[in-house]
């Protein structure tokens, strides 16, 4: 039996809330954070919707009690807000004798600033303070220094599955006996780079996205950060954990850099591995928080993989990207937090804007808020560019 690893705290900031409580209330009320872009500087403003957090960088810094300074990226500001909350929520003292690590996923990283100043970087010295934070690790190091984490400080970039992999990695480091506690999650700010990237791939919907709907026509980007505190039994000391990470599966679709195979081979294997590892059968899954980007390709491929694994008895499934947009490197962790909330509040989050079932599938996503169905095991999917697929299983303690 591998060592049990629990989630003892969560922190999250997204377009539907600055913290756990606000995100919970927005999920309960079916709030969508997708709307017109107001802060990001882009020519697509007014044309492409996104789930933007309505705080300026200065306001985010204020929320952290920090002065706004050169070199401090939006990615890092979001990260620190969510990581602070996770540690507070877990009521753990990071200064105690246990070895604490940090694993953070990010894919946009410093690009959120580089895209503004890149030509200065190349031609003059006016923006040098930002160059240091140009890669993915700047936000991770800011969290580590703020929280005093030194034992192991790591960043993962597997595109859209980055922070699901950060959680998996944290569980593995605890089980390997290398760390006693891990703050794991991810962060990504909205950027012109990614907005244009998905737009040019022609998978960006000009309307608010419609995951698992027959009329779906692409994703909307969002931004946010989410972190979870992972701990084994020995560090709990009387604190009640929120739930347990019982399974994970990391596989590669090995089909195409951006598209999933039509039959969803990698997605199927990720889910299957995660369930096997958690020791539960498909019938025991109470809820699937799907990757559900609302692109034609993802939802078909993921849907086929779900049917392959669950047969005709597909559990309630929904995409909270209909609330938050696709937060890329932060998605896996934010959706893990929503899965924790699903277990704690015995609730299945509705898939917003769903009207018409997909012709190719026999199941449809959960349309309504379902309370009291006895949520015990949640499967959370995160699939990324390059076919990097990760599924997590979170279980009620």
């Amino acid at each position: 039996m591998p060592e049990r690893v629990f989630i003892t705290g969560c922190g999250v900031i997204t377009a539907i809330g600055d913290n756990l409580e606000e995100n919970l209330r927005s999920l309960q009320a079916g709030v969508s954070g997708i709307g017109e872009i107001r802060l990001l500087e882009t020519l697509h403003r007014g044309k492409l919707p996104a789930a933007e957090i309505r705080h300026t960088d200065r306001k985010l810094a204020e929320m952290l009690g920090l002065p706004m300074q050169d070199g401090l990226t939006r990615t890092a500001l979001l990260a620190m807000i969510a990581a602070d909350e996770a540690v507070r929520h877990a009521c753990c003292n990071l200064g105690d004798r246990w070895r604490t690590g940090l694993v953070s996923g990010s894919t946009v990283g410093g690009m959120v600033t580089a895209e503004k100043y890149y030509l200065d970087y190349l031609s003059n010295d006016t923006r040098n303070a930002w160059i240091e934070g140009n890669d993915c690790s700047e936000s991770t190091e800011r969290i580590a220094r703020r929280l005093g984490i030194r034992q192991y400080v790591s960043t993962i970039n597997t595109a859209c599955s980055s922070s699901a992999n950060a959680i998996m990695c944290g569980v593995q480091l605890i089980r390997a006996g290398l760390l006693d506690r891990v703050v794991a999650g991810g962060t990504d700010a909205l950027s012109m780079f990614t907005l244009n990237g998905f737009n040019t791939l022609m998978i960006y919907d000009r309307e608010p996205c419609r995951p698992f709907d027959d009329s779906r026509n692409g994703l909307n980007l969002g931004e946010g950060a989410a972190y979870l505190v992972l701990e084994p039994e020995r560090t709990l000391k009387g604190r009640n954990p929120l739930c347990e990470v019982t399974g994970f599966g990391n596989t590669t679709d090995a089909f195409h850099q951006t598209a999933l195979s039509p039959e969803g081979t990698g997605a199927y294997m990720a889910m299957k591995t995660a369930l096997e590892r958690s020791g539960i059968s498909p019938e025991q899954v109470s809820y699937i928080n799907v990757h559900g980007t609302a692109t034609v390709n993802n939802d078909l491929s993921e849907g086929k993989a779900i049917e392959h694994l669950f047969g005709i008895k597909v559990p309630p499934a929904s995409s909270t990207k209909s609330n938050t947009g696709h937060m890329l490197g932060a998605s896996g962790a934010a959706e893990a937090v929503y899965s924790v909330l699903s277990i704690l509040h015995d609730t299945i989050w509705p898939n917003l804007r769903f009207v018409t079932p997909m012709q190719e599938l026999h199941f449809a996503p959960a349309e309504r808020y379902i309370h009291g169905s006895g949520v015990r095991h949640v499967l959370s999917n995160s699939f990324g560019f390059g076919g990097n697929n990760t599924s997590l299983v979170l279980s009620k303690c």
């Binding site: 160059i131 993915c136 970039n157 780079f193 791939l201 850099q257």
Partner: protein, 357 residues
């Protein structure tokens, strides 16, 4: 369980792709930035496919293929990569096209290949590998974190055969950016006299280094990976020294047991002083000292080049003349090599290799 290096593939600014050679001949450059030589190796792909791959994916694929062929161990159970800078060329290409085309009509390929996992997933696609695949991206720790993951996978029995890679590419623009932070020499220097320049800055470099790691020895085994450790935010020489000492102790070793240290000397007077201070504090006279960054340049996963060199040295029981700074006088056999790298005296990393058998 022993963690064995059973195959290597190294594409670098030196002719390192040929595993039958070991730095007998090294390339001299007069430059501030050095780049990989194109390997004279059949990539095993058709021309059309090859043309579509960018340089990073092509060189990375070739390095991994050399490694897999060298090990002869078949399709790996997992592909774990580390890269500090990531997909530099395609990221800047996509960004510059956004500016030029005013966010309109952009070719998507550079965007698709702009994330750190582009190479790891490309290798998976080419191998038809459906299994574990993770890309570590933490600056100067990226390769060490990937190595630690690989060790965990083998020790836990999850995997028997891991393809591990450390890579970074340098471009003119990336060189300019990082140069603004004072990291590179002001004038071109000979890489072969890098450690005698007495000035600040290093030479920029790059490399694609892959390893096949397995839980047991084979006829191909180069060396055993004993341990790896990273020290985050440790800007004090004495604390870094203590960190290295406890790293050796947890492996049952004293500094006297280390025959050779491969130090990440990079020609920057301040950076090199940290190495010299830490090593002088720890190791007795007669410990061998070798360096490698004059061969490949400075980049965030340069420690992967050092692990390649250390693995080859332990197998051949030879330290290449081109790497020697101080010869070891205490003993002839090479049993342990400690690779010590640091980034600006802040973040330190250690990799310990032992002779196989």
């Amino acid at each position: 369980m022993k963690i064995c290096i059973n195959g290597t593939g190294n594409v670098s600014p030196q002719p390192t792709w040929d595993n039958s050679q070991f730095l007998e001949q090294v390339q001299e450059y007069h430059a501030r930035m050095i780049q990989c030589l194109e390997p004279d190796v059949d990539p095993g792909l058709d021309e059309k496919y090859l043309r579509r791959m960018n340089r990073m994916l092509r060189l990375g694929w070739i390095a991994s293929k050399i490694c897999l062929d060298d090990a002869g161990a078949g399709v790996p159970d997992g592909i774990i990569t580390g890269s500090g800078w990531g997909s530099v060329h395609d990221s800047e290409k996509f960004l510059l096209t956004i500016y030029k085309n005013k966010e309109n009509l952009l070719p998507p390929t550079p965007f698709i290949q702009s994330t750190h996992n582009a190479l790891g997933s490309q290798i998976a696609i080419l191998l038809g590998n459906f299994r574990y695949n993770v890309a570590y991206a933490h600056a100067s720790f990226a390769f060490e974190h990937a190595l630690l993951d690989a060790i965990c996978q083998l020790r836990s029995g999850e995997m028997k055969n891991v393809l591990l890679g450390g890579f970074d590419e340098i471009t003119e623009n990336q060189f300019t950016l990082i140069g603004r932070l004072g990291r590179w020499k002001n004038e071109p220097v000979s890489n072969l006299s890098l450690y005698h320049t007495g000035t600040s800055g290093s030479i920029a470099g790059e490399g694609f280094t892959f390893f096949c790691l397995q839980g047991e020895e084979t006829s191909k085994t180069y060396a055993e990976v004993k341990d790896v450790m990273t020290l985050f935010d440790m800007p004090y020489v004495d604390r870094a020294t203590d960190g290295i000492r406890s790293f050796l102790q947890r492996n049952g070793l004293e500094p006297e047991d280390i025959g050779w240290v491969f130090a990440g000397l990079n020609g920057d007077v301040d950076d090199d002083q940290v190495y010299r201070d830490v090593l002088r504090n720890l190791f007795p006279a007669g410990t061998g000292l070798a360096a490698w960054k004059h061969l490949c340049g400075e980049y965030l996963t340069a420690s992967a080049f050092a692990m390649w060199a250390a693995a080859k040295a332990l197998k051949a029981q030879i330290i290449p003349e081109a790497m020697k700074i101080l010869g070891a006088s205490r003993r002839k056999e090479i049993n342990h090599i400690l690779i010590y790298n640091h980034f600006k005296g802040m973040h330190h990393s250690l990799i310990l290799l032992r002779r196989a058998g």
